[in-house]
């Protein structure tokens, strides 16, 4: 029935209104348990006392409100899906790439979750810097060529003789070569470390884990996977994942992805290693030991890092054991280069991450969970024999002995191969 003069309720409503009964807002306040104005409280109370229907409505609406509030209590335990923020990040990146970002909104780069090693624009803009860079590059290439030729004439290190580093088309990282070499580097002055490495079971596990390769076939940007790994790492305050672009015929291009926290904590060290890594990797050093904690501790930049990596690799060969010792208090992610993709296989694009994790615990499972994001296919590959990969310097093999001995523990490098087809 329409609400109007023909509706008998209409007159009643207007009359009631004119008579000053409780307003809707006052009833709402009653339902919600709020106090009324003193001059109205008595009027409303009287109205409720005289009107059973009205009183019943107030009571029942109050009950309804309590029912709704109980839903709120239940919702307090409601948790958003664990991957919600990752999905948000992916969508932000997608929309940024598609140009769907509203004007003024931050770009995907501004919203990144990790720090990229950046060069200062002011320095880059300098023509002197460019000239110096070109000159340094030429000199470095020449020096690298000479060193490479010398390396080719020398005997193959025992470590390389064990295998060609290829298993089923997938290269595998031996257990923490860098750490092993670093262990040897300090073995002469640290008995404590021997004690750690005497954990045969740990070493065995490390060897087993070392042959575990996580392959990721994906259409996602590598950055997404890196971000996933970085979050995993960031939980433990560690710093670096090394990314190797292993496209066929292209020299690997390492990139360091430090985390903000660790970056802040170790800014000075990271700066040094950042400088060193490109050169170290380009040389693909796998050569004679240079005893060296002193060398490793001293110096900076490319040259020092080259020597450090040589030391580490040689020491690993000498030990003949993929012994592992790295700080375990912090959770380092170390990067280690793999040979170029020409030896790796057929994919149109392949990148390799080496993630160092403690050799005990469920870290590999954690990595897999971290990588279990939409669009990523995970494949676990077990190597069928001992394999080795020439390893240039990595961050933690440079730094690990700077950590307290008590924090040393077995670690293992897990290669994560990202293939894009």
């Amino acid at each position: 029935m329409p609400d109007g003069p023909t509706n008998p309720n209409h007159a009643h409503r207007r009359e009631t209104h004119a008579g000053g009964p409780p307003t809707a807002d006052e009833l709402l306040a009653l339902v919600e348990g709020e106090a009324l104005a003193p001059e109205r409280a008595q009027i409303v109370a009287t109205a409720l006392a005289n009107d059973a229907r009205l009183r019943m409505w107030v009571e029942i609406l109050t009950d309804d409100r309590k029912g709704l509030q109980s839903l709120g209590s239940a919702d307090a335990s409601l948790r958003a899906p664990a991957d919600l923020l990752e999905r948000v990040e992916a969508q932000v990146e997608r929309e940024a790439l598609l140009g769907l970002v509203p004007a003024g909104a931050p770009t995907a780069d501004e919203l990144r979750t990790y720090e990229r090693p950046g060069r200062k624009p002011g320095v880059l803009a300098s023509p002197w810097f460019r000239f110096a860079s070109i000159a340094a590059g030429v000199a470095f290439a020449m020096g690298g060529t000479i060193v490479a030729l010398q390396l080719a004439r020398t005997t193959v290190p025992p470590m390389l003789a064990e295998g060609d580093g290829r298993v089923g088309g997938v290269l595998v990282m031996p257990a923490q070569q860098g750490a092993a070499s670093g262990a040897a580097g300090v073995a002469g002055n640290s008995g404590t470390m021997r004690g750690d490495l005497a954990d045969a079971a740990g070493v065995t596990r490390a060897q087993r884990r070392a042959r575990t390769v996580i392959r990721v076939t994906t259409s996602l940007p590598t950055e997404r996977i890196l971000a996933a790994l970085e979050r995993f790492d960031g939980q433990n305050g560690s710093l670096v994942a090394l990314r190797v672009d292993a496209n066929a015929g292209v020299a690997p291009r390492p990139g360091i992805m430090p985390f903000a926290d660790a970056d802040a904590a170790r800014e000075g060290v990271l700066t040094q290693v950042r400088t060193a890594l490109a050169a170290v990797h380009a040389l693909d050093v796998a050569r004679a030991p240079i005893p060296g904690s002193a060398m490793a501790r001293g110096g900076s930049g490319t040259h020092g890092s080259q020597q450090r990596s040589s030391t580490q690799h040689g020491a690993a060969d000498a030990s003949g054991t993929p012994s592992t010792a790295q700080p375990k208090g912090v959770m380092p992610t170390i990067g280690s280069a793999l040979p170029s993709a020409g030896a790796v296989g057929e994919p149109t694009s392949r990148e390799v991450l080496i993630v160092a994790v403690p050799s005990e615990g469920d870290w590999i499972e954690i990595i897999k969970r971290r990588l279990a994001i939409d669009g990523v296919k995970l494949e676990l590959v077990e190597a069928d024999g001992p394999v080795t990969v020439p390893a240039p310097a990595d961050l933690m093999s440079v730094l690990w002995w700077e950590q307290p001995v008590a924090t040393w523990g077995p670690r293992v490098g897990v290669p994560v191969v990202i293939e894009r087809r």
């Binding site: 029935m1 329409p2 609400d3 309720n9 009643h12 409503r13 009631t16 209104h17 009964p21 409780p22 307003t23 809707a24 807002d25 006052e26 009833l27 709402l28 919600e32 059973a52 229907r53 009205l54 019943m56 409505w57 009571e59 029942i60 609406l61 009950d63 309804d64 409100r65 309590k66 029912g67 709704l68 509030q69 109980s70 839903l71 709120g72 209590s73 919702d75 307090a76 409601l78 948790r79 958003a80 899906p81 919600l84 923020l85 999905r87 948000v88 969508q91 932000v92 970002v101 509203p102 003024g104 909104a105 931050p106 501004e110 919203l111 990144r112 979750t113 990790y114 720090e115 903000a260």
Partner: protein
Amino acid sequence: MSLTGENHGGGGPDDLIDQRLVARTRAGEAGAWQELLARHQDRLYGVCVRMVGPTPRGRELATDLAQDAFVKIIQGLHTFDGQAKVSTWMIRVTMNVVLSWQRGQRLRQHASLDAPVAGHPGGAGGGPGSGSETRSHAELLPDREPTADRRVQSLELRATVAEALSQVEPEQRALLVLRDVRGLDYAQIAHVVGVPVGTIKSRLFRARINLREAFENLTKPSTTKPSTTKPDLTKPPANKP
């Protein structure tokens, strides 16, 4: 009173933290926006779930809606003017995403089903809402008595409230969720919905009545099919003694 952790005091410590995170995000600090969203994602997701229903399908949908809302929050952080608390603003964005989606769903339905019932107080716009302070309850309250034996007392019946809530118009459901489920005050709700406080009260009162109607429809004896149409409160009182 806050039931679910909403901070009602203006500029409380939680809001200060949020404001700092907003500033850090605007400054381009990596990870700041994640920290901001991580602080609120459960509550915002809860709003989405309650708006679309806590079924498995509803949770999936709520995840998608929350994702869209979070993206809009990130992309709209530069528009946040600080007039409201960050958390309130985030709820506003989230609620707008949910309501937009629900309006879109309604548009896909048959026009006859979508058309508001003439004179029905549960229309999307809420009718003449402002200035309700002087309105008599008789203009809003049904002339019948509520069904006394269907009070929300037992746990089971409270579960039915959730079902009844899903049958209320989305705009009214939003008010009930914000007020009772999330515990926002009127000023915050007014900011979220974008209407004056007086209008909020008027619409909220209607929403409560419509929730009651939906609840009683659901708890009617099974011989009667629960009404899915909007109750016409302009009818003569059915149960009036």
